[in-house]
Amino acid sequence: MTRACALHAEEVSYEVERGRALLDKVTLEARPGETVGVVGPNGSGKTTLLRCVYGTLRPTRGRILLDGDDAAALHAKARARKVAAVPQDGGVGFGLTARQVAAMGRSPHKRFWEGDTARDTARVAEALERAGAAALATRPFESLSGGERQRVLVARALAQGPALLALDEPTNHLDVRYQWELLTLVRDLPATGLLALHDLNLAAYFCDRLYVLDAGRVVASGPPGEVLTEELLARVYAVRAEVRVHPRTGAPTVVYLPPGLEDARR
């Protein structure tokens, strides 16, 4: 987990059928070690973009470059050694314990029919520890709560030892404490982070740069302070909001305003 990888999405499009594009020429860059957030309304293409990055989907046009190499040319396993993902759909697990689930993260590093080595075990234990899931290790995965599962899946991704970590709504199901712990962990990892997030305040605080997607296109990008404006929130999300830089965190902070509320500043 000492590497970081540069990600460059080059005019990536994904069409389910001719004329219906979930992604439309999305260009995104994450420098090594950066934490980049992807925000946008439901159905704007955040998940599709992440899927293209971690390899579930193949872009219909455009390229994903990892350290300058076309990801499509990489063998699936080689790619999984570079890019780890925490997808939204957790799955059921068929009775695997949390530790076994996390240990799956080692599988891209394995050859044909190779068992777990002492090094794998150490890696998995470390990953569980870092994701705050060490105490869950022996529990069956399906007996865990949503937040606990999420932490185990993060541990699995960490066990992969990725240079790029893609997380789709990683704070779903997590209580405030674990939201902060998880995002702090991701930001402090040497690996590059790509996060799809709904919570704009978390995105503003933890991400170095944000990309705002709307209907499959990038409509704004840059540091959170430049991107998250009241005008943009009104345009993209159709909500009224106040954005202030918080005096203590120094990050832009969004407060949503109910539609009926009179404008307080006037």
């Binding site: 999984a80 997808p87 059921v92 076994q100 799956m104 599988s107 029919w113 777990d116 998995v124 022996t138």
Partner: protein
């Protein structure tokens, strides 16, 4: 005393072991500590407690990644013993020693000193039948386990892709309609029907998007279609004698076992076992969906197609020689999961061995319980298997919450 179960070191328990899967071994730590706290119990309770602890240690050893080779070796021995025992059981009144003398004679060359008829009963009837039962049990169990994981559905079994229904239609076409003009055997017809049905499923699944759900739904569609065709042919054309014969075959029968069938079945089983074992890690990942599997470096489409092809091939081979034997492929994988956990490196060989031993004994029961009449083995599998499975479900629930199944998710 606790050192043996302490999960302290990644040691391979036997030479040639497949490596210490330490994934679950650390779980032994708190367990043994808890047992140590119990050491103040009265002496009367102590022996009971020790027995329980021993059982617990065995269970832990079985579920942890260690000792896969040991477990498999034990399974192979159990399977061989079962075959050796059941060939001594039967109506012909051949002594146990004579049976083994025949086998030894055939293997070694010396004369057994029995009449050719009696020798034939052992060598041409009982032994191939027991071996075919083992191959069928292992194959159906294996296919069931793989398909349940691949399709992410605990109700999947080897027949879920329409293979058995297609085989039935093929068999009925040969027997009742005389397709092939006598040149085609029942087995060959069944295999052709199975292949046709599976091809249809793949085509349907592919043209409708190729996702897991589509594969499953296409399989169900094919199953319904070919069942209806079978019923139609039987209803319209078959006489009473043919209907009986067809029904017996549909319910599964190992009565027609031959060495050729054993050889072909064993070959298909070996191929499928190797292909599936090589993808054990990928199958684990698949429990979390194609999405997660892809993120872990699994080439999802290719793997799904490969595994569907080999399991369908094996199922088709088995069904065409023994009919559609139910229960084994659906339930034994769950029993194996309850016993050894859901990790496929362990689960696949254990399911196969469990299936083999199970079917060898059930078939023996089927041919002896109502002797001289023979029970269709598919009937016996359920009659004898369901009570055993209920027991496993109960124990599994008491032991560690819900048994290792995804039923709740559906």
């Amino acid at each position: 005393m606790t050192a043996a179960s302490g999960g302290a070191g990644p040691r391979t328990p036997a030479p040639g072991g497949t490596g210490p899967g330490t994934a679950a071994s650390g779980g032994a730590g708190p367990e043994t500590a808890a047992f140590r706290d119990h050491s103040v119990v009265a002496a009367a309770d102590r022996s009971r407690w020790q027995t329980r602890r021993r059982a617990r240690r065995w269970a832990l050893a079985l579920r942890s990644g260690r000792g896969t080779a040991v477990v498999c070796a034990l399974g192979v021995v159990a399977c061989a013993l079962s075959v050796a025992l059941v060939i001594t059981v039967g109506q012909a009144g051949i002594g146990v020693a004579d049976v083994w003398r025949v086998v030894a004679a055939r293997l070694g060359g010396a004369d057994a000193g029995l009449t050719p008829l009696r020798e034939g009963i052992v060598w041409e009837l009982r032994l191939p039948r027991a071996l075919l039962a083992a191959v069928c049990g292992a194959g159906l169990g294996l296919c069931g386990a793989v398909l349940q994981s691949l399709l992410r559905n605990p109700l999947a079994d080897p027949f879920v892709l329409g293979v058995s229904s297609g085989a039935s239609t093929g068999a009925v076409s040969v027997v009742v309609l005389g397709v092939g003009g006598g040149a085609l055997s029942l087995s060959a017809g069944a295999f052709a029907g199975a292949a046709l049905s599976f091809a249809l499923v793949l085509l349907l699944a592919h043209t409708s998007g190729g996702t897991t759900d589509r594969v499953l739904l296409s399989g169900i569609a094919a199953m319904q279609l070919f069942s209806a065709l079978t019923s139609l042919i039987v209803f319209v054309s078959a006489d009473a004698e043919q209907t009986r014969g067809v029904l017996f075959w549909l319910l599964g029968s190992l009565g027609s076992a031959s060495w050729a069938e054993v050889a072909v079945g064993a070959g298909a089983l070996a191929l499928t076992l190797v292909v599936c074992l090589a993808r054990a890690h990928a199958l684990d990942a698949f429990a979390f969906g194609p999405e997660a599997a892809a993120a872990l470096g699994v080439r999802v489409r290719r793997m799904r197609l490969t595994l569907l092809l080999v399991t369908a091939l094996l199922t088709a081979v088995l069904v065409s020689s023994a009919g559609a034997i139910g229960f084994v492929g659906l339930v034994l994988p769950h029993a194996a999961r309850a016993a050894c956990g859901p990790a496929h490196r362990r689960l696949l060989p254990v399911t196969a061995l469990l299936g083999a031993v199970f079917l060898v004994w059930v078939d023996t029961a089927a041919r002896t319980l109502l002797a001289p009449r023979e029970l269709p083995v598919g009937v016996a599998t359920s009659l004898l298997g369901v009570p055993a499975f209920v027991l496993i479900l109960h124990r599994g629930r008491r032991g560690r919450g819900a048994p290792g199944r995804a039923g709740a998710g559906l």
